[in-house]
Symmetry: D2
Subunit: 278 residues, 4 copies
């Protein structure tokens, strides 16, 4: 008995759910959860099915792949531990949440390592038993710095996601393309308000009554990748810029944590510049 997740993305047409069910049932699958969505504008069909199979998954996979057109994106994932890289700078809050949850096995995930352009979080990371890699940004080009990061990542083999847990360097187009759909960032504002640097300063100056955080896939265009999750917290006139930052940190943790949970359960689909969460 094995637990699988089938993810399908293809052009919409009549009977897609029916056809998929037919193949799954013919192989004796027991469907646990099934959700689908059709985007009316792009006419794309998205489907996520969790099922249990007591039989040959290869044969099932072959049939599904034969059936669907070549343009279809199909993933059959045995439900297993995902491997994460975490990139940080100096702030601990998002990293702490990730380390605690992985350490205690709350999540079905393991950490490949933590990479940072500062040494500040080494002690804390190593205390949990994780590897910490320092890659300075000083006296080198962005290209060189990212090459070092890529080498570290490559040295440990396959992985699933790179989590930017308050990593404060802008990534090159080359780097983001290399790891397309694999890099996730937590932005410290309610995007698309306050794009760019110092969002809490911007929020303070504008006198907003709510602040937020946004997680998104990282693309070549800063802060413009597909949004995965957003959260907010109410604030008032008495909040200094420092208070906004402090409250903001709690929302950032919450939004990034929820985002990683969705990724670990294979619920997030990219739909052009948006996401579909099933």
């Amino acid at each position: 008995m094995q637990h699988y997740i089938l993810r399908i993305v293809c052009d919409d047409r009549k009977g897609l759910i029916f056809d998929t069910m037919k193949i799954l049932l013919a192989h004796g699958s027991n469907i646990l959860e099934n959700e689908e969505f059709v985007d009316e504008y792009t006419r794309k069909f998205f489907m996520r099915t969790e099922f249990i199979l007591d039989g040959d998954i290869n044969q099932l996979e072959k049939e599904i792949k034969n059936f669907f057109k070549t343009s279809t994106k199909i993933e059959l994932l045995p439900k297993k531990e995902k491997k994460l890289w975490v990139l940080v700078t100096k702030e601990h809050h998002c990293l702490s949440d990730i380390l605690v949850r992985c350490f205690h096995k709350d999540w079905n995930a393991s950490i490949q390592g933590i990479i940072s352009n500062h040494e500040v979080l080494r002690k804390f990371s190593e205390m949990f038993g994780y590897s910490y890699y320092f890659v300075s940004h000083e006296n080198k080009t962005r290209e060189d710095m990212e090459k070092e990061i890529s080498q570290i990542i490559a040295s440990k083999g396959e992985f699933d996601y790179i989590i930017l847990a308050k990593y404060m360097r802008i990534l090159s187009e080359e780097f983001t393309k290399k790891y397309e759909s694999k890099i996730v960032n937590i932005h410290h504002s309610f995007l698309p308000a306050f794009v760019g640097a110092k969002p809490y300063k911007q929020a303070f100056d504008r006198g907003v009554k709510i602040i937020g955080a946004t997680s998104h896939f990282v693309t070549a265009h800063l802060d413009e990748g597909p949004i995965i999750a957003q959260g907010i917290i109410s604030v008032d006139h008495s909040y200094t810029e420092e208070d906004l930052k402090s409250s903001g940190r709690d929302v950032e943790v919450r939004v990034l944590s929820e985002t990683i949970r969705l990724l670990l359960e294979d619920r997030v689909f990219i739909n052009e510049n948006k996401t579909v969460i099933l």
Copy 2:
């Protein structure tokens, strides 16, 4: 026994609360609620005190005004019904909430009249017994249109606030200056994201996971006046632009309703381009 609200705005200095209390107590006031705030950046002091007085308010007022410097803005408000003008276009939801609450005396407010550039909401407004004024925007300059509106407003004497309850015309600098600090708008997005027209279209295209509404004082700069209140609602990939609008309407009602309640209780202070809510 009369119920008063004292509002003070002035440059901060030591002992302001103490000095104010001294005068209030010397006149036998019974203080019900008191809140103050000092803006660390502008060094402005804001104070709102609700009290009951069984004596001569004129003498008390004179003493307070004598005591504070001329640069100070002091308002002594008997807690009485406020008079509202409501400007609308075609959408009923915000107007409905205001009419229902005023009709049932949930609010300490009366409606001077409803002004619209369409006839759509006349029947509904008049059914509640309120006056409805149609001011077309067709075949006339914005100047002329606003002159008509000003004449209608003037014809009924003093008033407290002009509520833009989904009034979809941009107001001139002249008009906004004439009624400075008296015009309040509900903007159908989480400002400063999605400034300008069609915010739900913008939100849909960006694939946000939260939509919001923002109330603000209207200044010469579109959607940039001091924010009074903000609210949000979670949405997901399945929401069409129409769904976003529909959910958005409920948030708009909620935020505008909360805003009017704050204004009716004299809790909103303008602090340069922000607000202080006491």
Copy 3:
């Protein structure tokens, strides 16, 4: 082209989605939205499918009914206006929301009439053009009073739901059984906390920091029917019992409004003493 909603409730077994899809597709249906749920404990299967059909619905219905066992509960609902009765006592807030939304056609619903044991809301209801029926509770048994209400309801033929929009009388077991699964109540607290009368007094005495509202189907057991929706609002020590009531009213409106929307879209299923919302 007609718009239908298929609702199925039956014992779970393999292939139910598949089998249903098969019949729907064979008749050329275009499926717009589909959601299902299996309760692991009761082993019940729930399914809601919205589809468009350009053909003979009777034939389709026959096939589905033939296919499923007799124990299955199947409803094929043309998506049409639902008919509501509204029962009130003296408070206007929930009624106002319902009247406003029906009057403006925000909802696909019409109002059969308003029934009350007081005359307070007559003027307001009639102003919208709706029929208002006064049924006094004085000098008569609960049985007699409910008989009068039943006669009024019967006099207008078929209907879909009886909404208790702050109707403050307890209904008899007989009455609730007569209209089983058709009566919906808004309870002014976060059930199951503060069951029974004066929940705001109870909440005040307990010093809670959050108050709520709960909508539920009405069964013979007071406040114990299946919960449909719940909402909350944060409060603090400064709230008097009256303030709690006032804030509570806004949550009650929001929760009841959301509940009616779910009912109008045929999304609510009763699952023993719980609900499934698809």
Copy 4:
């Protein structure tokens, strides 16, 4: 220049704010934040004032204590690190949040030690460098077990709060009286719903649409002490009891974290069986 917090609780009478300000100003205090509350029912006055003083605090304290009646409770707290004991059983989530925040100095608090009736969390606690004390509940009376705990607590001298971070043993009346107003618990439900054991089972069986967490001071009456903070999260029919627990854990962390922050800032006052948060 020292930072102080003055907390006053006494019977209400005219001029209390005025009188306090007078003494503070006479000593050249610079007031940073001031909030007060009068309970209309108990006629108690609560005040919290943060101020900076460049002078002799002893003289100021003497004057304030002389001025106020003996029935008054006055605390003058130099703003310094608070000392916490943390009691746990097997679940890590609340403990993790506390350890992480103390370790990184996010809070102005230090941890005296962790006490548990299990060994499960020893490794994790010691990894942060904190002392872990195992006190078995097996083969001994509650009295004896609590005596051991008291001895451990006493061995480290003065402390401020005992945090029950998912400590699953009921405390005796004697123990709760010994540490009156010093023990804080996080209860895994929205009190007063689901008092007692297995609240998630109760919530699941009742089919609620919202679950919550409640922090409160611990008194002799289980789950009935003054509530400090509450939080909620929306759930639906698809949540198993295990899912409710998992979502509940995140709310528990949030509510307990907020509670500790309020305690560290000396904002929480006990008002009979309620709290006042200033």
